[in-house]
């Protein structure tokens, strides 16, 4: 695989192991706390309170003691976005509104990042199965949902490899700028991966143990 595609396959969760207070709270409690905090932040109208809340949210993020290096890539995008947002809002609505709006966004993002950084993927998948359990009555199978998400995570690398192969084939044929020469073979390969995955699951007896 060429370098252009290789960085895309390097998918790992954003979770960072650690011993901070947030790391020790359960995934469910953190999710509820995050929802409540976001609701409060969106209700605040005063620029001073909004800025204070944003500052507090950043402190919560810092308290996770996640190394700054893990945050540089997302932070760069967020900082640029916040600058653009603040300027656009200041121009359209005035500075007090701009401070309120940008502080809200910063507070929500920082808190959500703090939760994602301190919660391992397996705990989140467990939480999803637990949250979905009441929906079993209306035909949602929580185990099946967790299985689908796990397969999709595995599938990202497979699909990227399929697109990369189609891209190499396109280069080899010399049709450099045709989107069609890239996307059609990519889709055919992708569908074939899905078929093969389905056959693989059936061959291993997936689904036969379930009583429905």
């Amino acid at each position: 695989m060429t370098g252009f595609w290789a960085q895309t396959t390097a998918i790992v969760g954003v979770h960072h192991p650690g011993l901070s207070p947030l790391h020790r709270i359960g995934a469910g409690a953190k999710a509820v706390g995050l929802l409540a905090a976001v609701a409060v932040v969106l209700l605040v109208d005063s620029p001073w309170i909004a800025a204070a809340l944003a500052g507090f949210a950043v402190l919560v993020l810092v308290s996770t003691r996640v190394p700054a290096a893990a945050l540089t890539r997302p932070l760069r995008a967020v900082v640029v976005m916040l600058l653009v947002l603040t300027l656009v809002q200041a121009w359209l609505l005035g500075w007090p509104q701009a401070v309120t709006g940008s502080s809200r966004v910063l507070a929500c993002l920082a808190l959500a990042w703090a939760v994602s950084l301190t919660t391992p993927l397996t705990e989140v998948l467990d939480l999803i199965s637990r949250v979905l359990r009441p929906l079993a009555r209306v035909g949602v199978d929580p185990e099946q949902v967790a299985m689908t998400i796990a397969l999709a995570i595995r599938g990202v690398g497979l699909v990227v490899a399929a697109v990369a192969q189609a891209d190499e084939a396109r280069h080899a044929r010399g049709s450099r700028l045709s989107v069609r020469a890239l996307v059609v073979p990519s889709m055919v390969r992708t569908i074939k991966i899905a078929e093969a995955l389905g056959e693989g699951l059936l061959a291993r007896g997936y689904g036969t143990h379930r009583e429905r």
Partner: protein, 202 residues
Amino acid sequence: MPTPAVDDRGSAPGRDRATRDIARVAVFAALIAALTLVPGLYLFGGAVPVTLQTLAVTLAGVLLGPRRGVLAVLTYLAMVVVGLPVASGFRGGLGVLAGPTGGFLVGFVPMVVVVGVLAALALRRLRGAWLTAGLFGAGLAGIPALYVVGIAWLAAVLGVPLGTAAAMMAPFLVGDVAKAAVAAVVGSAVARALPGVVGPGR
């Protein structure tokens, strides 16, 4: 998820189809993630990346139909929420949904339903160039479904009027129309390349 009107998942063929559906839904969720991460064009100094993400969502609607298309989008959104860096610019976690452009992720749900329903109709009734035109129409119809949610969300988070939020999104419209055209050409080509695989109920 709504249960199908006729629930035959207890029988062996129904169960096999449910298992194959899981595989397709998972792989198309992975496709949305993969096409999101492929570097695209960057607007506003890198703050807003234009990716092939909406192309992947439209293709999910065209090639999977509305039901499995929605499941693929929901699976992708679940991947974002659980903290995998599969949103644009390698972002991940709930912060992406809470941010100003979160509505453009949630809006994929109505978008894929609209595209899926209309594309299923086109795949059943049309052939050749008419099929491509029909799929293009289906892709175009998905755009307002996405923008309504995305623009309302943007206006609410930023506290700007709806009209202003809509104006901020105008540059993306060109790209999304182009992506609907690509999805139509690809959809009809794949329907020809893999007959019996593409389309609803297969």
